[in-house]
Amino acid sequence: MTFENEHLLPGQVGHFFVLLAFVASIVSVISYFKASKAQLENEKQSWIRFARAAFFIEAFSLVAVFACIFYICANHYYEYLYVYKHASKELEPKYLLACIWEGQEGSFLLWSLWHCALGTVLIFTAKKREAPVMAIVNTAQIFLILMLLGLYFFNVRIGSSPFVLTRNELVGPIFSQADYLAFIKDGIGLNPLLRNYWMVIHPPILFLGFASTVVPIAFAYSSLVTKDWGGWVKAALPWTLFSACVLGTGIMMGGKWAYESLSFGGYWAWDPVENAALVPWLILVAGLHCMAIFNSTKNALRASYLFIILTYLFVLYSTFLTRTGILGDTSVHSFTEAGTAMNVLIGIYVIAISLPVFYLFLKNYKSIPSIQKEEDMSSREFWMFIGAVILFLSALFVISITSLPVYNKIFGTNLADPQDREFSYNKVLVLVAVIVGLLTGISQYLKYKKTDKKYLFKKLGWPLGIAFCGTILLAIFYPIEFTKKGPGFLVAIHLALFASVFSVLANAFYLKSVLKWNLKAGGAAIAHFGFALMIGGMLIASGNRKVISDNSKTGLFIPFDKDPTGRATENPMENLTLLKDVPTRMGKYTVTYMNDSASNEKDRTFYNLHFQKIDSITGKVQEDFTLSPDAYRMKDNNLTSNPGTKHYLTHDIFTYISTISVPKTDDDTATFRPHEMAIGDSVFFAKGYYVLNNILKNPDNDRFHFSPSDTALVADITVYSENGTSHKAYPALVIHNQEINFINDTVIAQNLYLNFTGIAANKKFKINSKETDRLEDFITLKAYYFPYINLVWLGLVIMSCGFIVSLVSRVRASKIWAYSSIGLVLIFLFYMFLLANN
């Protein structure tokens, strides 16, 4: 049977390029291995030339694959399952890229594209290490491309191709019809949770971070095979800095995204997916410090190897956790089960590179030089090493709890998350913050080999003293009020706060008095300054976060039922219901739910809330603003809400919708009464009359936004009630994708429904009205007060810039390059984190 209207060519082209890329990656790996084994310079060069050619063919093919996926998604070819699953016609074009990397296949492709970009840079910069380094990068590529292959070997499908056809994958009566495509009206589209500009920018940055961790391990490998111990560190250090910068930024972009658009009320929830990305970053930073130690003192070489290898292992382990469905019930945002073959493939990839390199490391462990002499207690390298070990241990701690579902799978246990998951992490990591804060503050002033104690005390006196006084003043005038976990934890928070204030000051003093503002040499101090600022910001923002929608304090609602257990509840009543047009007290604010407004996206509605803060004594309005949190209500009642946030420099007011009223139609007996009205006509109803003022075509105002392809007619109606008030109402009729939708409007105060159903003869319009006594329009929301959240973002931006400063001074970039790259990163991050959504 031939099927109608299918577009099979782009899929075939795409699949061909997947195969070509796969073959080319194998050829490239083999040639690079040959080149690294070759003794003769001529032979080596010819293998390298061949390998490079294969690599560029592979890179070109992967770009072509991406272009094909983009093409089929942009054209909504639902004959492809990938398009059906991830694209939809109503999705705005800006989310097109996002829906490509929403799926497994697309995100693996993104990862391998980054490998191509990094590999290209390596070819031009790695010099004598090119062959072994690129052999590793290409081995990683083989696995990633395998995931996209979708070929059968002995009845097992290896990988999953993004070009499989819907009719081959799904079973259903429509697929036996030649015109089955006519039945598939639209794709599922991007999950509403992911419809955010961060979905466009966060995955590429994070995957660049993941992809770049292959470079340090590839350099480590190159030194193990050439037995050139230690020489790799200098070459790999800029890459490690780059990786730490990008991965760290990518992780915190996820945090910023969560804060802006996900409704769990924060930037970090210790979700397994977040942890899985944080753990390799911590180990990478530990490795980075060991490499820096080696660079200056020749110590810590073995630890550098170990941490760099483990970084890569944990990057892939995190991929394993998030993509095999093993996290199942423990995570809100993991991928689902991908099939046994896929899971095995991912499992093999986890160990395929890191284990052999680890084996080489162990085999050569004895020959890797290490300094037998003990480091001096006053040396910088000693305390840097302690810091690295602390970071590494905290990474192990985090991953050991996160791996719970893996233990359950292996040992058949049924352990579950602790009662308060966040606290079980926080109580350990707050101590880590104390140690790391102190170390990042002190270690700048320490010198390699040995430090004069007098110098140290002299230099550290000021920052220690100011930090001590500052923290005490803070505790008096702006106390952290996180009392629910007892005094012990509160003390720990204050210690950590002291440590981070100290670190901020110590690093700032170091830049001023030691480096004399020679920022080029101050990468580490800048990064530590930013890190400490971020940790301090987190302590304040999370410690003093408050739920302001606390129902028990408003006294508005009496409890629904008596508690059947007869116990007082410990749970705060964190949600507050707002009736339309009824001002309600919430914290220091008076909030009124004014109205809702449709958006140009299907199923999405904004709820406009008017906040006012009035000084109780003078009666003056101190704050007055409107927030518009929004929610998608899907066909199956699934509600996805996005917060509305008012940003101030020092704090944020953060709200999101937790419930919206469902129009009750079941037992509402009132029916619509039809009327045909010309412009200027009026119709009476029980409590007054309403007038049709005008019919507007495609208006664009704060209530309606139509796309150019829509045809919309909006009736402009004024409702006059018998008690003299008047209200505006705008029922509308919209033709979108050849379907007519009616948008009803209601005048709550008059219990009046209005709808606009069409055009009648003689320039009249069909306006129907319904009166009911059952009108209820309300929303339930949760609101938080987040203080000093901007410190977290500012700290992150500064830390990332510190990495870049170190990076450009390591590669000895020319002045113009150095300044422009630092400037660009600074502007980009500052815009993304502090300005974009404010």
Binding site: V171, F385, L415, D417, S424, K427, F560, E574, T659, T780
Partner: protein, 134 residues
């Protein structure tokens, strides 16, 4: 003292600390039957919404009170009280994970995770159902 022994001490101390912190409070996945025996202990229940019994929730009266009944695969049933808003997709859910404590015959729940058909793009059966609806 040798610096390497200091490092070893730090590592051991940190490891013991971590172990202590970590062994404290893991919870378990339970059935309703076994949870009833562990009165007052924090557990995770894997169950289904009992659609034959009423769901009690009225955001106008109290947005922080939800009551419904859950049944597990062994057929045991319990009332569940959740002092928060009703997850909108509760009625559509195929499976719920309830975190909380059994208090008498009532499960006091502080968190609900839902398995909803709409969230499962990669479930082929579900795709087959939706493919003609859109």
């Amino acid at each position: 003292m040798k610096t390497s022994s200091i490092i070893i001490l730090v590592v051991i101390a940190a490891a013991i600390g971590a172990l202590l912190m970590y062994s404290v409070d893991f919870s378990t996945y339970d059935t309703i039957g076994s949870a009833k025996e562990k009165q007052g202990q924090y557990v995770h229940l894997i169950a289904k919404l009992d659609k034959s019994k009423p769901i009690q929730y009225d955001a106008l009266k109290d947005p922080n009170y939800l009551s419904f009944y859950a049944v597990d695969s062994l057929g045991n049933s319990t009332q569940v009280i959740y002092r928060n808003t009703k997850p909108p997709e509760l009625e559509q859910s195929e499976r719920v994970v309830l975190k909380g404590k059994m208090e008498g015959n009532v499960f006091e729940c502080n968190d609900i995770l839902l398995k909803c058909p709409s969230k499962y793009k990669d479930d082929k059966k579900q795709l087959e159902k939706t493919v003609t609806q859109y």
